[in-house]
Symmetry: D2
Subunit: 337 residues, 4 copies
């Protein structure tokens, strides 16, 4: 399943070391100003090779708009966005053809499909998120028009929350041939009350799926999250007065529907699976072996995962916005009498 | 959106104080032995009125099988399950008609739909889960045939984890007119490797959506969850030997696909929103007021939420199983030459 | 797949001789006046036992609204509608348990599911359409608010088009123990331009699926239909002037999108498969046999299929209307500058 | 909605005079041998510029496989196929920017989206079918493995059915500046019994949607189609003996499920909307005008539509095959005890 969303649907494609990656956005409204320049800066944020603490793979990640835009405006037709891989080095991975890297999807892809593209993890690579980030930029452009803004920040790396200390943790892990994870906090402001459906289309359920659908994410919280489990009702309920809510333990969502408060989401990112230290594993023949993962990797994926998480939150909100729009007339005017 | 699942799809309906609740299951395989007796015991586990610490509402929750079963076997046709409400007392809620209860969906439903069934929260009530639990019992029946078993337990109530202490916390909260939350741990054994799709159909993403789609759930973790964010790669990766995985930090899922290990999920449940203590709020005219929520409520919803969470996990796994089945021949025999 | 629609989704359930039939409507707007009285008259139109030329099965087909309506208005929640079977006579079908009736789905259900409810065709019976017709009545209620009206008429029975002659054809067929088919013409007026999506969500494609999804329908035409294949472009294109289209060969749809003209659909209905004449067939053991179908049947299903076809057209239009609504602001105001 | 299918899903993109056209196939089984060489010959069949009776637009339509194939085999990942437009001449259409061509989607796109890409009809152009035909070639490759073969032929052009006379009709229409339509007959052999779902997933309903979703198609028949409406039950029912069905009035489908017979479909194709004769129309300002459509067009689109219709039938069958596969174990082995 490579499609996400109901009304603002994206379908991504591409592998880490294949010819290209991309996305088709179906359901984007017409008449939205859009060009590659709206998308490129966001792609640049997730690009590898931009610093000493990210993978040195040199990918310009230039996006090409193949369809759906005419004279600078969207037309309501599907928007296909394409990014060519230019620094693929499949031979880096020759020795991984038959061995399952711990913490990666090598074993599970082999079991599921009976075949796998072992080059850099194929489609299970974080590189797949190029398409999501590109689509998220389009969603963000649309959301900006209606006053919704999504942002995120790194809250913790390997248990520390001071920015300098965070960088130090990454540096240390890199030196050790190891890796570290962290926590990201996302928020959306300007979200009107009413987005999200009760029961199975809850806004928080959509967000949870979107976040847990990012490789390396192992936990999702809305508002107080796990801390809520230790509060009493009197401490967790958000009281209201005539101006609105007086607190935001709920993270902006009640009964699966946005309440007008800031939407607050936290996600836990596991440490990068690829590490230079020796690890016990087995190969596809069932033989035990020890592996040391080479290639070009990030000792901490959290900074590059941040724009992906923002993109996914933007996609969920834009989708929920369109889903809600269809009932606007009925909500406002009732049965049109 | 009141439908969940792709291949094993359920659609629930009904409100807390309406005539009836139920579910239609679409996509259940034919030739599965099934009767109301398979479903009733599971419904009984979530039933109110069964003890001093649950809502005293007296609902027998008798399930009726309306379709899809013939001579004791499923036929592949949709299975409609119906439960009548018998102890609805809508008048209990008359004073809530115009007031928004803190922590509830009253305000957001009003904003979204311009109208709401205020009786016991209408469809935002936990009573809606009757349909989910009934459907989950059918999924569990199917899963048992292929050796998959789902179970769960309460790990924590209001921060304590000793069973006696947990009960004491609930008792204390009840006495105070307050409420408490807690944490549930779910697991699934016998899950073969290969369930779940990469990218947007990840097994963990489906689970996250299923769990966060339960009212009162504010956090979801797979495997180590948030703790993973504080580990190093060398400590989080699960090594393998020829017999399989040597640890289970991943919670049984790698790259969104089950790896054959136990699937482990933890969810955070907020304290019940309905409390007897006075709370600040506003009414639908915008006037400030103070509310004390009467009616019949659970001081802690965690025990009754447990079978709902188990049901949702069973539904996700059965759906993923069917989704995977369609490729079985290709995976095993390749291109059939 | 027992669900139809994207935004206005219906899920039907029930078998010909099971306890009940029904439908869940998901996505109906809130604040629409609705009660059983809006639905019952339409159900009565498709009811059996109402005349000498329809099946004598005595079913009152009383509809019960189980959810989604509060104080006479829809709430945006799923609307479950239930109809009990009261004159089921499964024993009428004992001799058909192992024999495949020609023209029926007996053989294909057995092949597909390995089991089947043989009583009156189980779910392949026309009785399944009770749920569709009930849901169609709700759609029609919504459509009336925005000025769209769906109607249909019988154009031909067994090749004749005079009403008296049509009835005579049915009478004759009944006497012979045989059956006849016919042609229905449907139309929708008040359809605004803009409904339907290009490519795979074309309004005519949705209509075609809806119509061919009715048992016994073997052909669908939009506008001139097959006659268009014999026209020249100059004769088929509908010219426009400043007041609109000057003809309607297209049947109100261009490029899959409604053009504001009357939407015109024709469908071919095959003769009822159940006939009293002896027919060659085989049983589930592979043995050849001859069958004479007893039970209670319509010698011509066309009149009772008419409200079903109208219901399906209403459902498609309501769904397309909601799908289009979500883009209304963008279409009217552009990028909201 | 630019996605078609449930298990074998395709999403197409691209406009007639934009940079490129293409398709993403999601759900193709792994381990299927596939390369551009499997797809190119089918694309060549629908290519323009190949004869005196087709549009002279010179498009090589070279397909590039961007993802989903590794070492000559599919991997189960999405397969993106790209075709660049090389002979786009948008300036040919400058004078159509503000005028609605009769029989085209110009007016309806403008009404629906408030904007349109007027160059050659943008996405409403038949050129959009490049993606469908490419995807259909992949489906056909998969179907061949399980013994299903789809083929089609032109049965009628402008009412005549002799091949030489058909060509003459096209030639004559071209000379007159006019256009003609026709009828295509499709069939699928080797279809096992059991494909298609009862009620809303009927195989014939899926086929009807697929066919009516092709621009210019105005009618669809299964088996006897409209002729069935004039038969009696005794003449239309297909009797069986121990070897199978003795006739095929049903066109291989009973109750929405394939019965093992040849699947037979007929479609009506309207005459090409673009004609050189003067036609009355209006412009987007509401002014009446007369238009003569220049550009490069086919006087009869039927021959180039044939591979598109075959592709769509292949896509429906492959999708139905995968949908059915997931229940195979249950059908064959029952409840696995």
């Amino acid at each position: 399943m490579n499609t996400f969303g109901r009304s603002f649907r994206i379908t991504t494609f591409g592998e880490s070391h294949g010819p290209a990656l991309g996305v088709v956005i179906d359901g984007c409204p017409a008449k939205v100003s859009l060009s590659a320049e709206d998308i490129q800066p966001v792609l640049d944020r997730r690009r590898p090779g931009t610093g000493p603490l990210t993978s040195p793979r040199a990918e310009p990640d230039r996006v090409e708009v193949l369809s759906g835009v005419f004279e600078g405006k969207t037309t309501g037709m599907p928007i296909a966005l394409l990014v060519r891989n230019t620094d693929a080095r499949p031979s880096d991975y020759d020795e991984l053809r038959l061995v399952f890297r711990p913490g990666h999807a090598d074993y599970t892809f082999q079991e599921k499909y009976g075949v796998r593209d072992h080059r850099g993890g194929g489609r299970s690579s974080g590189r797949e998120t190029v398409g999501r980030v590109a689509a998220g930029a389009v969603a963000a452009k649309c959301l900006a028009m209606i006053g919704i803004e999504v942002s995120g920040k790194i809250e913790e790396i390997h248990g520390v929350s001071d920015p300098g200390a965070m960088e130090e943790e990454i540096r240390k892990a890199k030196k050790e041939g190891d890796s570290v994870g962290g926590i990201i906090r996302l928020s959306a402001t300007g979200v009107p009350p009413g987005l999200g459906d009760p029961v199975f289309g809850k806004l928080d359920a959509q967000i949870a799926a979107a976040m847990m659908g990012i490789g390396a994410v192992k936990g999702v919280e809305i508002g107080d999250g796990f801390a809520a489990a230790r509060l009493k009702g009197s401490g967790h309920n958000d009281p209201m007065d005539s101006t609105g809510f007086l607190s935001n333990h709920a993270g902006g969502i009640l009964g699966g529907i946005s309440n007008g408060n800031e939407v607050v989401v936290r996600i836990a990112v596991k440490p990068t699976a690829s590490i230079a230290l020796p690890q016990k594993t087995r190969d596809s023949g069932g033989e035990e072996t020890t592996i040391t993962v080479g290639g070009r990797h990030d000792p901490c994926i959290v900074p590059r995962l941040l724009p992906v998480a923002e993109a996914m939150l933007a996609l969920v909100l834009m989708d929920a916005h369109l889903e809600q729009e269809k009932y606007r007339v009925f909500v406002q005017e009732g049965d049109l009498k």
